[in-house]
Amino acid sequence: MPTRRRVLNLLIGGMNALIAGVLGVPVLGYVLTPILRKSGAGDWISIGLVEDLQGGVEPRRVDYRYKNDSGYTVETVNGYAFVIPGEAEGKKSSPRVLSPICTHMGCNVAWNGERNRFLCPCHGGQYAADGRNIAGPPPRPLDQLPSRVENGVLMIQVGSQA
C-alpha cells in the first residue's frame, strides 16, 4: 500500500523529469549547433601565378588573405602557406602547398634557410624542406593544403565554411 509520501515523491520525480526532458532537447540542440550544422567545403582562393611561385629551390612563403563568413559577420582572415618548388610536372599539375601549422601543438612554423628546414618556435619541432618531420616532437609531416592550378593561377582551399 503506497503511502501519500511515496506517491508525492513519484509525482515530483515525474514532473521534474518532464521539465528536464522538454527543456533538455532544445538546450542540447542549441549547445550542439556548431556540430549539428553541416559545414561546407572551404573557399578556393588564388595565391599567385604558378610560374612565379615555382622558381627557386627553397620553399616559398606566400601570404594570403580571404573573407570568411563567420555566421553573422564577414571577417578578413590573414594566413600564409609554403609552396614547395620544383615538384609540379607540366602546366596543369599543382605544386604542393604546405600548411605552416606544426602538427605537434599547432604553432606556426617558419622556414630557416641556413639550416634548410622548417623550425617550430614552440617545442623545437623540425621539418625537412619537403615537410617531412625530422626532429623534435611532431608526430607527422606538415599538412598539405588542397591546391590546384587554374589558368596558370595557383589556388588553395582555405578553411571550411560554416
Binding site: N9, L11, I12, M15, L23, V27, V31, Y72, T73, N151
Partner: protein, 586 residues
C-alpha cells in the same frame, strides 16, 4: 571546538551538502499553507530558466552596434532551436514580472511582511528592483527599433531628475547618445553586475525565509510560538510548488513556441536606426505606467515629479511598508486601511499601465494614419504630375530622383560620390555601370533578383541585402532617371568600337576567351558553370553596360582599388571580343 546544540556538522563535503539540502526540504510548515504559497518557488524556477537561457544567448550575442542585431538574428534564424531559446528568455522575463506581482500581493494580503519578517520584505524589494534592472538593460540588447527607442525614452526618464539628471543620463549611456558606448555597458550590467547582486539578494532572502519559517496564516504578530509546525516542506508543499513550476514551464514553452512562429509579430524588428522618424517609442510593458506618469503631469516641475519624485517616493514607501504598518494583525479583515491602501496602489499601477498602453497604441495609430496619408498624397502627386507636366521632361525626373535618393537614405549603404564601399556599388557612376532598363526591373524588386541570380544556386536562403522599398512606377522612373544620369566618362570612357551590332565571329572569339583562355568561371558564375567568388555573370548582358564591362576587364583596380577581380592583362582587341560575348548573356 564546541558544537552548537543539535546535530553535529557532517564530516565530508558531500554529506554537508546533503544536510544543507535537507535543511531546506525538511522545513516544517504551519497549517493552512498550500496552493497560495507556490509563487516564490515559481519565481526561483523562472530565475533558473533565465540564467540557463541567458547563458545560451551569450554564447552567440555580440554587444556591438555593428553586430548585436546580426548576432541576435543569427540566434533567431540559424542556431538550432535558437528562436525557442530566445523566446523562452524573453517570455520567462515577462512571466517573472507577472509572478512577482502575484507574489508581492500574496505576501501583502497574508501580512507576511510583519515582524519578525521585516527584512525578508526588504530583501524581496531589492530582488524586485533588480528584476526591473534586468528588464531595463536586457530590453536594449537586440538593438532593433523597439529596443533602441524604448531605451532612448527610458534613459531620458532617468536623466530628467533635477540636478544630477544629465550626469545620470551620461553615465547610463556611456556618452552623449545611445550607441556603441551604451551597448557593452548595458550588457555588462545585465550579465555581470545584476547577477552578482541577485546572488547576494537571493541568498539574503532565502536565508531570511528559512530562518523565520513560513508565516502561519492569520496568526497575530507575537502569537506564533503556540502554532504547531508538523508537515515538512518535502514532499507535501514541494509537490504543490513543483506542479505550479510545471504549469509555468508549460505556459512558457507555449508562449516561446508561439513567439518563434510569429504569433506576436516578428520576433525581431528592423535594426535600430537613430534617424527613423516613423517609430513610436514603446518601453517594455512593465515600464508603461512610468511612461504614462510623464503624460499625466505637465511640463516643467510636473515632469520632475513624474520622473523622480513620485517613483522615488514610491520605492522608499514600498520598501518601508513593514516599518510603517506596525499593527500586529495579519488577517485582512482586521486590516481594512492596509487592504484599502494596497488595493489602491495595485489599481493605480494597473490603470497607469493600461492607460500607458492605450496612449502608445493611440500614438501608433495616429502615426500609421499620418504615414498612409503622406503616402497616398505622394502617390496622387506622382500620378497627377505626368498629366499636368510633360512626362518627357528628363530634368524634372532626375531632380525628383535625387530627392528620393535623399529620402530613402540610399547613402546609408551606398557611396554617393566616391568609390564603392564594402562591396556595395557606388551610385557615383551607376549610370555608366548598368543599363537603365535593368535598373527599373531591379528597383521594382531588388530582393527577388538578388536571390534568383546569386543565392538560389548556392542553396542559401535569401539574405536581405538591398531592401525592397515598394516603389511606385513613378518613383522607379524617377530613381532610374537620376541614377542613369550619374555617369563618369573619365573613369568609364565611351568605347566607339563597341557601338552597333556585333560581328558573330567576335562573339565566338569572346566566348573562347571568357570560358577557355581566361577561365572567368574560376570566380564567376556563367550559366551552370562557376563559383560564387565574384558577381554572377549569367545575365550580365541585361545588367552591365558595354563601356563598364570594358573598363573593369581592362583595369579592375582603377574602378575599385579594393576589388578582388584580377587584372588578367587582356590585349585591347581581346577586351572588345570578351565584352561582345558578355553582352550576349541575357
Amino acid at each position: 571546538m564546541a558544537q552548537p546544540a543539535g546535530e553535529p556538522i557532517p564530516r565530508t563535503p558531500l554529506k554537508q551538502f546533503v544536510a544543507l539540502v535537507k535543511v531546506f526540504l525538511d522545513e516544517p510548515m504551519p497549517p493552512r499553507v498550500g496552493w497560495t504559497h507556490v509563487f516564490g518557488s515559481v519565481l526561483l524556477f523562472l530565475l533558473g530558466i533565465q540564467i540557463l537561457t541567458g547563458f545560451l544567448l551569450a554564447l552567440y550575442y555580440s554587444p556591438s552596434t555593428a553586430t548585436a542585431y546580426e548576432s541576435v538574428q543569427y540566434i533567431q534564424e540559424r542556431a538550432v532551436f535558437g528562436g525557442l531559446i530566445r523566446g523562452m528568455h524573453r517570455w520567462s522575463a515577462n512571466l517573472l514580472i507577472v509572478t512577482l506581482g502575484i507574489h508581492v500581493a500574496r505576501v501583502f494580503i497574508w501580512g507576511a511582511y510583519k515582524a519578525p519578517r521585516r527584512w525578508t520584505w526588504v530583501s524581496g524589494c531589492l530582488l524586485l528592483l533588480l528584476m526591473l534592472g534586468f528588464g531595463f538593460t536586457g530590453y536594449l540588447l537586440p538593438w532593433d527599433l523597439k529596443s533602441y527607442f524604448g531605451t532612448e525614452v527610458g534613459t531620458h526618464i532617468a536623466g530628467s531628475a533635477p540636478g544630477v539628471g544629465p550626469m545620470v543620463l551620461a553615465w547610463l549611456r556611456g556618452g552623449g547618445q545611445l550607441g556603441q558606448l551604451t551597448l557593452p555597458r548595458f550588457y555588462a550590467i545585465h550579465v555581470l553586475l545584476l547577477p552578482a547582486l541577485l546572488l547576494v539578494g537571493l541568498t539574503w532572502h532565502l536565508w531570511q525565509i528559512r530562518g523565520h519559517g513560513i508565516t502561519p496564516p492569520w496568526v497575530r504578530v507575537g502569537e506564533e510560538r503556540g502554532i504547531p509546525r508538523v508537515e515538512p516542506f518535502f514532499p507535501f508543499q514541494a509537490a504543490r510548488d513543483n506542479a505550479a513550476m510545471l504549469a509555468a514551464f508549460l505556459l512558457l514553452i507555449a508562449l516561446a513556441v508561439m513567439e518563434s512562429r510569429g504569433y506576436f509579430g516578428p520576433p525581431l524588428g528592423a535594426k535600430a536606426d537613430p534617424s527613423n522618424a516613423d517609430y513610436v517609442p514603446r518601453p517594455d510593458w512593465y515600464f508603461l505606467g512610468l511612461q504614462q506618469l510623464l503624460r499625466v503631469f505637465p511640463a516643467g516641475f510636473g515632469q520632475v515629479l513624474a520622473t523622480s519624485v513620485i517613483p522615488g517616493l514610491a520605492v522608499v514607501l514600498f520598501v518601508a511598508v513593514p516599518f510603517i504598518d506596525r499593527s500586529p494583525e495579519r488577517s485582512p479583515r482586521r486590516r481594512p486601511v492596509a487592504m484599502a491602501l494596497g488595493a489602491a496602489v495595485a489599481l493605480t499601477v494597473v490603470s497607469l499601465t493600461l492607460a500607458g498602453n492605450h496612449a502608445v497604441r493611440r500614438e501608433e495609430r495616429a502615426l500609421a494614419q499620418r504615414l498612409a496619408a503622406a503616402k497616398a498624397k505622394a502617390k496622387a502627386e506622382t500620378k497627377a504630375a505626368p498629366a499636368e507636366r510633360a512626362p518627357t521632361n528628363q530634368a524634372e525626373l532626375v531632380a525628383a530622383g535625387e530627392t528620393l535618393v535623399e529620402q530613402l537614405k540610399c547613402g546609408l549603404c551606398h557611396s554617393l560620390d566616391g568609390p564603392p564601399k564594402g562591396g556595395v556599388p557606388t551610385l557615383a557612376w551607376e549610370g555608366s555601370r548598368v543599363n537603365e532598363a535593368w535598373l527599373r526591373v531591379y528597383l521594382k524588386n531588388p530582393t527577388r533578383i538578388h536571390w534568383e541570380t546569386n543565392l538560389k544556386r548556392q542553396g542559401q536562403r535569401p539574405r536581405l541585402r538591398m531592401p525592397d522599398f515598394e516603389l511606385s512606377d513613378g518613383e522607379v522612373d524617377q530613381l532610374a532617371a537620376f541614377l542613369a544620369s550619374k555617369t563618369d566618362a573619365e573613369l568609364i570612357p565611351h568605347q566607339p568600337e563597341l557601338e552597333g551590332s556585333a560581328d558573330p565571329a567576335a562573339v565566338d572569339r569572346g566566348e573562347k576567351l571568357v570560358h577557355e583562355t581566361y577561365r572567368c568561371t574560376v570566380c564567376h558564375w556563367i550559366g551552370e558553370d562557376g563559383t560564387h567568388f565574384g558577381p554572377d555573370l549569367t545575365h550580365i548582358g541585361l545588367r552591365g553596360r558595354p563601356d563598364f564591362l570594358h573598363a573593369i576587364i581592362h583595369h579592375p583596380q582603377r574602378l575599385d582599388h579594393r576589388t578582388a577581380m584580377k587584372n588578367l592583362h587582356l590585349k585591347p582587341d581581346e577586351v572588345i571580343d570578351a565584352v561582345r560575348y558578355l553582352t550576349t548573356l541575357k
